[in-house]
Amino acid sequence: MRGILRYRLMQSSPGTSTKKLRIQRLLLGTGTWALGWVGMHAVDGRFAVANLAMMLVLVSAMATLWLSTRTSMLLSMASVLAFNWTFVPPRQTFHVDVMQDGILLGSMLLVSWLIAILMARQRSATQEAQRHARQAEQLRGLNETLRDGAAPTADMRHVAQALHDLVDAEVVLLVLRGEVPASNDAAQAEWLGMPTADESAGLWHCTRERSAFGPGTGRYESLTSWYLPLRGGTAAYGAAVVRAPGALLADRTALRQAQALCDQYGLALERRAATQAAEQARQLAQIQAVRNAMLAAISHDYRTPLATILGAASSLVEQDAKLDATRRERLARTITEEAEQLARLTDNTLQLARLTTTGVELQMDWESPEELIGALMHRTRRRARGQRIRARVEAGLPLIRCDALLLSQLLDNLVDNALKYSDGSQEVEIVVRHLGGHIVFAVKDRGAGVPMEWRERIFDAFQRGEAVAQGAEGDAPSRRGAGVGLTVCRAIAQAHGGELRYRARPHGGSSFECWLPEAETPRINPACVEANQ
């Protein structure tokens, strides 16, 4: 009983105010007694002794409201004795006529004691009910906090705080990162608090055994702390050691509540693990789907240029004598061009695989849009159809923060598409502008454009559709291999915190625009700046 009173959870107000309250109640109780006695003296002589006796019983019952059971019983006994001395004839003696007043006095004492005991029972029942309510409230509160799904370390602190609130004790937590490791490897778990070597071993043992031990648990009773597993439905996800004060260690109720808190955390951990597993399964399924699409595309997009290369090369080997110089050169050029196409397709496929994996690190640096376009022009001009390309770069553009190789790949793909899907006599234009906090790279052609229903789908991997091929005119073979290009472009733009958009041009044709957010260019050390005469 006294142990329970020491729970901080039990206390309506902690520390010094409790002491004050207790003194207040003692004063109220004893004051009632004093008033009662004054009253009895006041009416003494006017009423019969039996009436005075009833007053005493009344006072005793009232005082019990404020006084502890023991104090009440002691005061009642003292009062009955004093009553006997003061009011029961012969007065000023303890002499009692058993037949006359003995029964009266005895009854008074017994009734007072009975009231005190009943009061105590009532009080303890109320306290127990309040305690249950508080513990239920604590469990509910913790459950709520855990369900909010804050960072795991924050959750650990919440649980430790709840245990601390319960028994006013230091708590050390071990929470597994994954499966139970083969050996007690500290790196395989998250820790809260500083465990001693013994505690650390105990925590691992508790996690593996999935059962509590320590005083009150029936196992290793001689320990001075509780070791409580964080149990979910099927496994333990860690353990807690509660360094509870000695007086509390034997308390089963507190132990049960502590275990309930730990189990609730265990369930929350289990929920989190289940959610993670489901997410992983979903990602795996998605990866599988992408992989299947890739394999399907590889069998098509790779085989076609390979067939051309093989055909041209074998023709050179087998028909060598029959070929004139022009034909031979044309075959060799076909091989070169198709091989370049294959190289681009490989680059794109690999890049897409790399970008869709999480945790890709971009080689970010400060790049000049003018330079990126310059290099792009240099590469494009060397290609067979690259002569009809024009570039316009707005003057005074700020530097952009990007991965130069990735952005070059994006621009190469867009230019490649523009050259492929537009007439050989029409210009392909690259425009770089500064537009509302963004740097916009636009690649514009005067081809047939993209039909409405394809405007989003062209960005999906391997969705190069017949609609696009049908919509455009010209030689069909050069229209292959856009299956992954735009997907990579969009992935690259997004990896830079930007966006790739399609816009139909007013007088026909497509404009693919890569919007990159403007970044604040680092300052140049003023000492390094020179006057430019």
Binding site: S368, E371, G374, H378
Partner: protein
Amino acid sequence: MTLKVLLVEDDRELRSMLRDVMTVEGYDVVTAASLAEGLALLQHGGQARSASQAWVDLVVLDLGLPDGDGETLLAHLRRRHGTPVIVISARQSDGQKIRLLDGGADDYLVKPFSAGELLARMRVCLRHRGTHAMPAVTRYESDGLCIDLTAHQVLSGGQPVHLTPTEFKLLARLVRSAGQVVTHRQLLTDVWGSEYAEHTHYLRLYMGQLRAKLEASPAEPHRLLTEPGVGYRLVDPSA
């Protein structure tokens, strides 16, 4: 005297193809299929011409070797010789490639590359061969651009071009490696100092100024070429 080339490449097909390409061009080609073989050939494959000149004139080194790092071979070579090295890398974004360029490799190619490209790079490298022993390049003339480092003079289409001291230093560094790629780090270290090695934005600013002064159309440069993610190249004067 025929020029000797050591080709270190583990893929048999690519090795024999490259050997054929180089042989047709008149080079004397020795091949190695692994790093160990390459090192052994470098040490014992022939009579060193002098203390600073190995028996090979040029090394073409593939990075993806089965038995080790191309860096080992470069380090071995650079301890004694100035023999030019061209690095062949399988990936565009290859950190090792840039490390090797910073560590003294002369140029790089990314697979797949054309034979013409390789031969052009080889010609540039061989022209620069042993520059540290010979007087450094001080003059550059190509396509109407004339740069005289000793006279501190730059003429474009016969007209003098005024450059700030930093611009001139930057251009001079590119002239000394004309035709070859110079990495960002090399340029920043040589022109601004090693504490500026990561300050790429300085380079972007000054290269922009140089382009504005030396290129007819800065958005489509023909002289100061950008190698995205790697560095810059002043176009080879003989190209």
